[in-house]
Symmetry: C2
Subunit: 473 residues, 2 copies
C-alpha cells in the first residue's frame, strides 16, 4: 500500500511538473513578448556585434574581442555569474589576395580570329583551405558528384582543377535539408578530387540565391591525401564557368589563394548562469555560436542566435523571474570549424556530473520564428506538444521532431541521455542567400523578426523551467 501511495505521489509530482498551468503560463508569455518587443536590446546588441566588432572567425583577434564583449554584455544584466571556459581553437586566415581568372575565345560570325575575353569569376577560399603558393593554372574538369569523379578516374583528372558544379536542391522546402544534401561536396570534395591527382578544387557555392556572392564554409582534408587548394565560386560565376567550358573545354583556369594556417590557439566559451531556486542542480542551457566566418559580419550566422540567447537571460531577469532550474546562456566558440566550444562544454558538464534537462539553440538565422524542432523521446515530445496552444497564440506553429543545433548537440551522447534538445525553427527560405558570405550583414536582419525569435525562445525556456521536461511519466 505504501508503495502504491509512493508511486501515486511520484505520478502526481511528475504530472505537476510537466503539465502547464495554462492561464498563469499564458500571462507570463504575454509579459515576455511585451518585454522583448517593447524593450528588447537584442537588435542593438546585434548592431554593436556586427558593426563595432564585425566578423569573428575563431582564433582571430576579432573573435577575442567578441568574447570580451559577450562577457561584459552578459555581466551588465547581473546574472548569478559569468565565466570564461577555455577552448582550444584552430587559427586560419584567408589572407588578402585571392582571385581566379581565365580567358575565353568567342567565335563571332565568320571572322577568322576569335575574340578573347578575360573572365574574373567571384570566388573565395573554403575555410581551412591551403594556399596556392603563387598561382596554379590548369584545365578544368566539371563534375556534379563523387560518382562522376570516380568514373572519370585519374587519367582524366590528374593535373587538372576539379569543378564540382552541384546546386542545392530547390525542391527541398526545408532549406537546411537542401544544404545538408550539398554539404559533402564542400566538406570532402577537395580530398576526393586529390585522390585522382587534381591540383585544385572549385565548388559552386552552397546557396539557393542566384547572385554573385561566393559562400565559404569548412572543408576538411582527409589524412594521407595531398591537401589541394579549394575555393567556392558564386552561383553566377559557376553558371558562367560551366557555360564557358562548353564552348572552351580546354580553357586554363588560374587560381590564387593566400590562405594560411597558424598554430591552434586558446579562446573561450562565455557561460552565464542564473542559479535555480528549486532544482539548482538541474540545468537548462541556451546558446548560439559567437564565432562566424571571416567574410560578412556573421549577422544571421550566428550573431542572431547570440543576441537572442543573451536576450532570454536579460528578459527573465528584467521580469524578476526566479527560475526553478539553473539556467545557463552559453556563447559557444568555433562552431564553424570543428565545434570545439560545443564539445568542450559538454565534456565539462559531464566531468562535473551536471544534469541537463534541456538545451535550446538558435542557429538558423534571425528570421520569423515558426516554432521549435525537438530532439527528444516520445514522452518529452508529448509534454512539449501539450504547450502548442500556448505557443500558437504567437504564431509558433511547429512543434516537431528535428535537429536542434551543432553546439548543444554533444550534450546528448546517445539516446540514453535524457536531455531534450530544442532548435529554434524559423522561416529560413533566405538563410542560405546570406550564409557564409559578404551578404550576411546587420542590414539583412529585421528587428521585429529577431525580437520575435528571442521572445519565442524565452517563452519555451519559461515553459520548460516551470513545467519540467521529464524523460518519462
Amino acid at each position: 500500500m505504501k508503495r502504491i501511495f509512493t508511486l501515486l505521489l511520484l505520478c502526481l509530482s511528475s504530472l505537476s511538473r510537466s503539465q502547464s498551468n495554462f492561464s498563469a503560463d499564458s500571462v507570463m508569455l504575454d509579459r515576455v513578448y511585451n518585454e522583448v518587443l517593447l524593450k528588447g536590446e537584442c537588435y542593438n546588441n546585434l548592431r554593436y556585434l556586427c558593426k563595432n566588432i564585425g566578423q569573428r572567425l575563431a582564433g582571430s583577434e576579432s573573435a577575442a574581442k567578441a568574447i570580451e564583449w559577450g562577457k561584459n554584455t552578459l555581466q551588465a544584466y547581473q546574472p548569478t555569474n559569468v565565466i570564461l571556459m577555455p577552448v582550444e581553437v584552430p587559427h586560419w586566415s584567408r589572407g588578402n589576395n585571392e582571385y581566379g581568372k581565365y580567358t575565353i575565345a568567342n567565335k563571332v560570325g565568320s571572322k577568322k580570329k576569335a575574340l578573347k575575353t578575360a573572365v574574373s569569376p567571384a570566388l573565395t577560399a573554403l575555410g581551412g583551405s591551403v594556399g596556392t603558393n603563387g598561382e596554379i593554372t590548369a584545365e578544368v574538369v566539371e563534375v556534379k558528384s563523387f560518382d562522376e569523379l570516380k568514373a572519370l578516374g585519374e587519367e582524366n583528372i590528374k593535373g587538372k582543377i576539379v569543378f564540382f558544379n552541384k546546386a542545392m536542391d530547390p525542391m527541398l522546402i526545408n532549406t537546411g535539408a537542401a544544404y545538408g544534401g550539398a554539404y559533402p561536396i564542400r566538406g570532402q570534395g577537395p580530398s576526393e578530387a586529390a585522390k585522382y591527382g587534381a591540383v585544385a578544387c572549385l565548388i559552386r557555392s552552397l546557396t539557393l540565391a542566384n547572385d554573385n556572392y561566393p559562400h565559404t564554409g569548412a572543408t576538411r582534408y582527409q589524412d594521407s591525401i595531398p591537401q589541394i587548394p579549394a575555393a567556392a565560386l558564386s552561383a553566377v560565376a559557376a553558371r558562367q564557368l560551366s557555360a564557358d567550358l562548353k564552348q572552351n573545354p580546354d580553357l586554363k583556369f588560374t587560381l590564387h589563394l593566400s590562405a594560411i594556417a597558424y598554430p591552434r590557439t586558446l579562446q573561450a566559451n562565455v557561460v552565464a548562469e542564473i542559479k535555480g531556486s528549486e532544482f539548482p542542480n538541474e540545468y537548462i542551457t541556451i546558446g548560439g555560436h559567437l564565432d562566424s566566418w571571416d567574410i560578412g559580419e556573421g549577422a544571421h550566422d550566428d550573431g542572431a542566435g547570440i543576441v537572442q540567447s543573451i536576450e532570454v537571460l536579460r528578459t527573465l531577469l528584467a521580469l524578476g523571474y526566479k527560475p526553478k532550474h539553473t539556467i545557463r546562456v552559453v556563447l559557444f566558440i568555433n562552431e564553424e570549424f570543428g565545434n570545439d566550444g560545443g564539445m568542450v562544454y559538454a565534456d565539462s558538464c559531464r566531468a562535473q556530473n551536471l544534469k541537463h534537462i534541456a538545451a535550446l539553440e538558435s542557429d538558423a538565422g534571425g528570421f520569423t520564428p515558426l516554432g521549435f524542432n525537438c530532439d527528444c523521446n516520445d514522452y518529452q515530445l508529448e509534454v512539449f506538444q501539450s504547450w502548442k496552444p500556448l505557443l500558437e497564440k504567437f504564431s509558433l506553429y511547429v512543434a516537431q521532431r528535428g535537429g536542434s543545433g551543432v553546439d548543444i548537440g554533444p550534450l546528448k551522447k546517445d539516446e540514453s541521455d535524457t536531455v531534450a534538445l530544442f532548435g529554434l525553427k524559423v522561416d529560413g527560405q533566405k538563410y542560405f542567400d546570406y550564409h557564409h558570405s559578404n551578404n550576411d550583414v546587420f542590414e539583412n536582419v529585421n528587428e521585429r523578426e529577431l525580437k520575435l525569435g528571442a521572445a519565442a525562445m524565452t517563452s519555451l525556456i519559461y515553459l520548460i523551467d516551470q513545467n519540467g521536461m521529464p524523460a518519462s511519466k
Copy 2:
C-alpha cells in the same frame, strides 16, 4: 427504397468529390512544385511589371498599361479565353510638389538666443486627400485617438493641424490585425479632425518599421464635413515631431500638398478562363489586384499576388492539367481606393448566375507561404483541413479560419453564400515595412519565397478542383 438509394449515391458522390486521393494528389503537388520552382515565370513577370510599368494607381495611364500587359501575358499562356471587364475607377493624383516644414528653437546652455533649426519631415499625401491650394501653416495638436480629439474639442482644435500619432500595436503577432487596429485613424482621421475645425491632418504612417519612409493609403471624407488635406509622416518624422512639440508646443507647421482629383474613368478587370471539363458551370476564381499605390512599385502590394495568380494558370496549363471546374484568374482593378474591381466582378457573376465553389486571393505580400486562411462553413473547413497532411509536406502549416482578400470578398454576400473564400497566409512580419511606400520595390521580393507562394496556391486550387468544396455532406 429508391430514395434511400439515391441518397446513398449522393453521399458517395459527395465523399468522392471531397476526399483526397492521397497518393495521386501527392504526386501532382510534387509536379506543381517542380514546375514552379524550376520553370516558374512569376519572378520575371514581377520584374517586368515593377520595372517596365512601375506604379499602377487606378485611373492612371500606368494602370492602363498594366491592364494591357496583364491581358497579353495571360493570353500568351493560351487559356480558353481572356476578356477585359470594364470597371469605373476614381482618378486621383498627388502631383509632384508635396512637403512639410517647421522650425524649432533649441535652447542650448545659458545662451540668450535659442538656436533655430529647420526641419523637413518626410511625408506624403494620403490617397484621396485634397490639395492644400498653396501652403497651410498652423499650430499642431497631437492626439493618439478619436476620444482624445473629442475631449480636446473645438476650442483647442479649431484652426490647427491635428497630428494623430498612433503606432500599430507591435504586440499583435498578426501584423494584419495590428494594421486593422490603426486603420481607422487613416481612413476617418481627417474628417474626425475637421468636425472640430482642424485645417489639416497629419498621421503617423501605418508601419512597424522604424524608418523614414512615409506610407500612403486611402482616406475617406465623410459627406457634409469639410474636406481637409491629410498626409502621412514617416515613423521617424512622427517621433521627431512629437519630441519637438514637447519642447516647442507653439511651433508652426507648414504643409503643402499638390494632390488633385480628376473625374472617374473607365478601366478594367482582366479575366482569364480555363473551361472546366466536368463541371463547366462551377467556378473557381484566383486573383490579386493589379492596381497599386502611386509610390514605390507595388511589388509586394500586390504585384506579387498578380504574378502568382498568373503563375497558377501557367502551371496548370504547362502540366497539361484539365480542370474539372472552370478556373478563372482575375486581375482586379482598384482594390486600393474603393474595391471597384471586386464589386463589379461579383455583380457580374451574380447577374450571370455563375456558381462559385471557391475563390483564392494573394494580397499579403510575396513572402514565404505558411498556409491558407479560409472564410467558409464548418464542413468546408473540415474538407480543407483533411488536406493538411498533403500541404504540410511543403511547410504549409496553417489551415484555419480567417480573412481571404478584399477583391474576392464580394463573392460572398452573406453566410447563405456557400462559396469558400481562401487567402494565402504568408510570413508577413515585414509586410508593413514596405506597404504603400517607396520601399515596396521589386528588389524586396525574394524569388524563392514568391515562387513558393505560387506553388502553394496552385496546389490548393488543384485540391479544390479535384476534390470539390461542397457546402455539406
